[in-house]
């Protein structure tokens, strides 16, 4: 129990550091947002009011603490571009990105484990070798390129979906899922390929160990050995990797949302960075970074839970 408390402590500390770092980064940008918003003609009173509304009063540490307190309670500040609360600007977009990411992650899970096991089981067969080569290629394809190919093939030629016509949840749950399937798959393909590759090398690594030789000597077939002895151990690093990939997938969706015109936080992030709307950008950056830190923490705990050896050390 002690280690969990300690890890949780580290988690909170890292979260704090991450938020401070992101906040600081967006503070060192030259230029005063107030003059940017008001233009050249404005009264000191208007400037002061706006400064107050935007939370720009006080020194850096005071601003950070005020921002952090707001962030934790769900008040993310005011968007410079829209002069509306960031929360309102982000409304509904977080859920879209979350749905896209989870869907994509499930697809990774669905493809990678069976594929990895199959590749390891038939590792000397011609078919498996060919599949391994294809797998290598898939690992190298950037998700947004897959997205463009999907748009062309499934969207424009086969017309299986209408590129650009995102269906909101509120309209149709299945319609929404149907639209998100293609971007999710685009993100999932390289990730699943990498996961499968990791599983293969993990299984191969385990196969070198003594207990495997013992199992063989008892007359077990390769498949039996993999299934009953190797897999449990070999899956360990893969589970950790999968837990950590969720955050990677969220980051990957930043670009893929652009290809498929999915109204998620990724598109908003790119737009806010381009238009220098820093309160919005900061909020999204911190949310994603916090997610990464948190998923690493979860991965850590999961590893500990399934592998007693790690717990001992």
């Amino acid at each position: 129990m002690g280690t969990i408390a300690k890890k949780t402590g580290t988690l909170l500390l890292t979260l704090l550091l991450v938020s401070a770092m992101a906040f600081l980064a967006f503070q060192i940008i030259p230029g005063d947002p107030v003059t940017k918003i008001l233009g050249t003609d404005y009264t000191p009173e208007r400037a002061a009011t706006l400064r107050h509304e935007l939370g720009l009063e006080g020194d850096l540490s005071a601003r950070y603490l005020r921002w952090l307190a707001g962030f934790i309670t769900g008040d993310f500040g005011i968007s410079y571009s829209y002069m509306k609360p960031v929360r309102q600007v982000m409304q509904g977009k977080l859920a879209v990105t979350a749905a896209l990411s989870v869907l994509s992650w499930l697809l990774v899970l669905l493809f990678s484990i069976p594929l990895g096991i199959a590749l390891a089981r038939y590792h000397k067969g011609v078919f498996a070798r060919a599949a391994a080569t294809v797998n290598q290629v898939f690992m190298a394809v950037p998700p947004f390129f897959i997205g463009i190919l999907f748009t062309y093939l499934f969207g424009l030629l086969l017309k299986w979906f209408v590129p650009g016509k995102f269906v909101p949840f509120s309209e149709s749950f299945w319609g929404c899922l149907g639209y998100l399937f293609f971007p999710a798959l685009a993100i999932a393909i390289p990730k699943a390929a990498k996961t499968a590759r990791l599983l293969v090398s993990s299984i191969m690594g385990e196969m070198q160990k003594d207990y495997v030789r013992t199992a063989y000597s008892r007359g077990n077939s390769r498949w039996m050995v993999i299934r009953t002895h190797v897999l449990r151990n070999a899956l360990l690093p893969v589970v950790t990797y999968l837990a950590m990939s969720l955050a990677d997938i969220v980051a990957g969706s930043i670009i893929v949302e652009q290809v498929f015109v999915v109204p998620g936080i990724g598109r908003l992030l790119v737009a806010s960075i381009a238009s220098r709307d820093f309160p919005v950008a900061l909020t999204i950056v911190v949310i994603i970074a916090a997610l990464v830190v948190f998923m690493n923490y979860v991965a850590d705990l999961v590893t500990q839970f399934i592998d007693p050896r790690v717990r001992l050390s």
């Binding site: 940017k36 918003i37 600007v89 409304q91 650009g164 015109v261 737009a271």
Partner: protein, 514 residues
């Protein structure tokens, strides 16, 4: 008096600029501005999704958001002024029912139309009109919000249907500015845009969409559609894809390179009413030298730009005047600088800028400007000029380049705010707040001032033409073209109309074809 008023507005020889250049173009995309693509029946009702390239401005206050054409063309459907432009290039009464003007053209008397309602259900009163004009002209604050109406000296209601506007100086073209929006005096337009137009504002989701609904109590011929969703798609590639895939029903302002493979859709060509140029910041040291600016003009081949970046669609221009403003247009200035690389080099050498290098800032959401900039860079290279491109998003362009005047050169387009020549020319007065290129020329200022106060139409036209000539002779900017534009819509959409001389997207005339 009335007759003169309506006659002075515009003599439009070319209602819509049609470019018949480039005979080798595919014929399935023929454009005819009068044919709205309708073969079936006009339907009433329904929803239309329109793709727009730029998100709306922060504020939808019609008296403030005068800088972004993209926002104004949407607000056109929500707000109306006492007068409004029609599709023929005339001004027609809107919130006003009629207007009379005195002999000296400095007192304008408007009679309000009966039964005009705001979107919040309230009747439009003279109080609202006085409030709106006072606010726009900044009579109480001393700071006009709408530059065009800064000539107003006073606004008063003489009875509950009559408003009298007195000007500081005579201005025969004043009605051209009276499309300034009438808003209710008790609603802050920053909170909710309430106007009298055929559409009512419903919602705006940042970077995503704007929803408008038909205003049922509109005083005139209302909209056909029940609802219009304006979808913000800043990426030009995505915009085209969305159109092709059917995700959006209509997109205006596409350029010639974007309309390939649109065979099963209705494509309409018109003048975009935008002067595209390489606008030069005269405060940037090299561009303070007239010879350098002229050198750039000689280095650039307009027709080649139009051929390469626009597939040959567009009308070359040599000054800041829309070709659709027929009375003022000076097509002869388009050839003022004939492409001559050697002359360009010689001028640069003379000015001491043989290795001139500068940055062209381009708003990335306008594919036509980005394409043009790329062609310009290649052309300038031939004259030994090293130009770089900096793509910025629309907001940055607006705040940094336009308002901040922090740039060296920019490829962009400017529309006219009104049906008057002043819409194109006012910004180049030395002290104009919109003079983002920092153009300073005393002759220009004098000619412009004389033109505005002139009561003789011919004399006024001559003076405006003098302004245009100064812009060309001093190479104020590297003028390129009055851009052609394409509106592309699904085959079941009809009713799209181009307005001469103005950057307008009229949603009320659109309908579904059944």
């Amino acid at each position: 008096m009335k007759k003169r008023l309506f006659a002075l507005v515009l003599a439009l020889a070319m209602t819509v600029a049609l470019c018949a250049c480039g005979g080798d173009k595919p014929s399935d995309q023929t454009a005819d501005p009068t044919n709205t693509g309708s073969t079936g029946e006009k339907l009433t009702g329904g929803t239309l999704t329109v793709g727009i390239a730029a998100d709306l401005d922060t504020s939808l206050d019609p008296h403030v958001s005068s800088s972004s054409a993209g926002t104004r063309e949407v607000l056109f459907n929500i707000y109306e002024g006492l007068m409004k432009p029609d599709t023929e290039g005339n001004l027609i009464p809107a919130v006003a029912e009629s207007c009379t003007v005195n002999e000296t053209a400095d007192v304008y008397t408007y009679t309000l139309r009966e039964g005009v309602k705001f979107h919040n259900g309230a009747d439009v009163t003279v109080g609202d009109v006085v409030y709106s004009l006072t606010r726009a002209a900044g009579l109480e604050t001393g700071e006009p919000l709408v530059g065009e109406v800064k000539g107003i000296a006073s606004v008063e209601a003489t009875d509950d249907r009559t408003v009298v506007v007195t000007l500081k100086a005579p201005d025969a073209e004043f009605n051209a500015y009276m499309s300034v929006a009438i808003i209710p005096q008790d609603v802050d337009p920053n909170d909710s845009p309430v106007g009298t137009g055929p559409f009512r504002f419903v919602s705006h989701i940042a970077q995503d969409s704007v929803v408008l609904e038909k205003f049922d109590e509109y005083w005139g011929q209302g909209a056909y559609l029940d609802q219009v969703i304006l979808k913000v798609i800043p990426d030009p590639q995505t915009l085209v894809m969305s159109l092709r895939s059917g995700a959006i029903d209509l997109a205006c302002h596409l350029d010639a390179t974007q309309i390939a493979n649109m065979a099963d859709m209705t494509v309409m060509e018109g003048s975009s009413n935008v002067i595209q140029a390489l606008y030069l910041n005269h405060d940037f040291a090299p561009f303070a030298d007239e010879r350098v600016r002229q050198a750039l003009c000689y280095a650039v081949d307009k027709q080649a730009v139009i051929d390469l970046a626009m597939d040959g669609h567009g009308t070359p221009v040599g000054t800041s005047m829309l070709s659709t403003l027929g009375r003022y247009a000076m097509p002869e200035l388009a050839d003022y600088y004939k492409p001559d690389v050697e002359k360009a080099k010689a001028l640069l050498k003379e000015a001491g800028y043989e290795n001139l290098s500068f940055t062209i800032t381009v708003p990335s959401n306008y594919a036509s400007h980005v394409g043009t900039a790329q062609v310009l860079v290649e052309q300038l290279k031939a004259a030994g000029v090293d130009a770089k491109i900096d793509l910025v998003d629309w907001n940055t362009w607006l705040t940094e380049t336009y308002q901040g005047r922090n740039f060296e050169a920019t490829v962009s387009g400017f529309d006219s705010h009104s049906l008057s020549a002043t819409g194109c020319l006012a910004r180049f007065q030395s002290e104009s707040g919109k003079n983002f290129i920092n153009f300073k020329n005393d002759d220009y200022d004098a000619a412009y001032a004389a033109a505005v106060s002139s009561l003789n139409a011919d004399e006024q036209t001559a003076l405006f033409k003098q302004c245009e000539t100064i812009l060309a002779e001093t190479a104020a900017n590297v003028y390129l073209q009055d851009m052609s534009t394409f509106a592309v819509m699904q085959s079941d959409v009809g009713g799209f109309v181009y307005y001469p001389a103005l950057y307008i997207m009229d949603l009320a005339t659109l309908y579904r074809i059944g």
